[in-house]
Amino acid sequence: MVDVNLYSKKKPRLKLLTVLILTGILVLPVAAFRITLWSLQMVEFNRLQSQYPIAAREMQSFRSSEFAAARQRLDQQERNLSAMVTRVRAETAKVEKDLVYAGTVQRVFSSFSDSFSQTGNGEKVFLNRMAVSRGSTMDMSYYDIPFAEESTQTLSLSFDFHQSFMESLLKTFPAPDADAQEINFLFLNALYNQLSLDLKGM
């Protein structure tokens, strides 16, 4: 029919018991979840104890309060180990680089020595300059003077040392910066070679 209410000022009120029940209803799922979780933990713990009886003794003595400190300790150790690995890796790379550098320089000297040994009877080699700037260049200049033929007393035009040395160098340095100049004066026939080897990246 019709709705008429001459007094509509009443504010809804709840009694203490209702408030308590409502609070209980809100808290109950959380409590139930925690109890379930705890029960599952205990079941799993018991299973592990029966499966690993020796470890179980350690497990029993382990206090959960120590867990955080132990974890912090492990984290610190992991960080230290990681820093050490980085350091060793850098050191290894440096040593590798040094070895490569040493090997390269060694090969230059070996090439020089081997070429001289092979052609030393017929030619004279004067090392004019040799400068090694580590990590940059290796500069050297030399004179290659072949001997005159004893029988004919004619000048030899073959620079065997130079050719041998350059061929040997090409195996290590594909594009050496070389400036070879021949010098012919009276009975002297010589070759002056200025050589610059790029050691960058070694």
């Binding site: 029919m1 008429v4 007094y7 709840l14 409502l22």
Partner: protein, 358 residues
Amino acid sequence: MQIFNRRVLVLETNNFVTKALLVRIAAKKAKILKKYKKVHTHFEGEWISATQLETMKKALAFIGTDVEDYVVINFPFERVISSVETMPNLAEEQLKNAIKFKMSEEFNIPVADFIIEVAKASRGEKPPAGNRHLAFATRKSSLEEFLSKVLGISKVPEPDILIPDSLKYLELFDARSLRESGLRDERFSFLICMDLNYSVLFIFKNGYLWNLMEIPYSLKELIGALAEKSIDVDEVVSALVEGSEIGSLSYVKEVQPVLDQSYQQFLFEAEKSIRNFLIGQKVQNPLGQIHSIFVTSLNNRLTMDLEFQAHQMRLLNGMRIQRIPLKEDFPTELDSFRTVLGLAYRGVRQIGRCKFVQ
């Protein structure tokens, strides 16, 4: 506010009787847990007597209250004025204020001392078409006095619903079956209602409450007439309230003529009100505008007596008096609690759709 324990505490009080019910609602069923009824005729003319307040206190002590109870109380109809106002379409609050100002002018009551409530269609019901609004109002001072006495002296819990007393009758009838039985008509239907302190004429049209008017004769006048005859008024009032057979009273010979005369006087006043209303409608053949006439009162016994008298005196040229159907779930064994059950239906309806069960 109720969450777990859903109860409706209903209190009906007037100068002659105080009734209380405690209804428990569970699984869409309303069950009456406790009931209280006490007749008290001794009063000195106050609109809320000290005896009445004391009886209310006892009733609550018997019933037992809870802070979460949904409380429904009746407000004396003598202190309520009603009016039908025509207003343009307005928002609810604006409409309320507009009607308040209009009624304030009509009744010459300051706006500040005026509390108004516009009748709304019940939940789930379609509101009537048109711009007519039925409004109920009371003085703020009357409401405050009533609440201060009832809440302060009788310790009644603060009401959720304070309903004008006369509207309890409308809750007893099944609105849907009423509409289906022919109230949805362009003509008017009248419900003549006799209560202890007042009498009211409900007017229906198109299936909706169209207006209501006070009939200037009630059971109070009957009780006054009986008091002059040195009859035990308490006993007669108890019999009237209970719906007992008056013939069982030892001094029936003295009582019966007074009863008959009072009923006839009441029906005569009701007929006058109906005729005045129809004349006010300015239509040709006013009696042809009547679709049906219903009579009701405190209980079935009194209703039947009034119907009998209406037939005897050929009310409105012998128009047939129809019986208005009560709700299907009305607990017939609690017929003497009919009026307070009307308030209970109102409270239960506010909580949800529930059926009364025994």
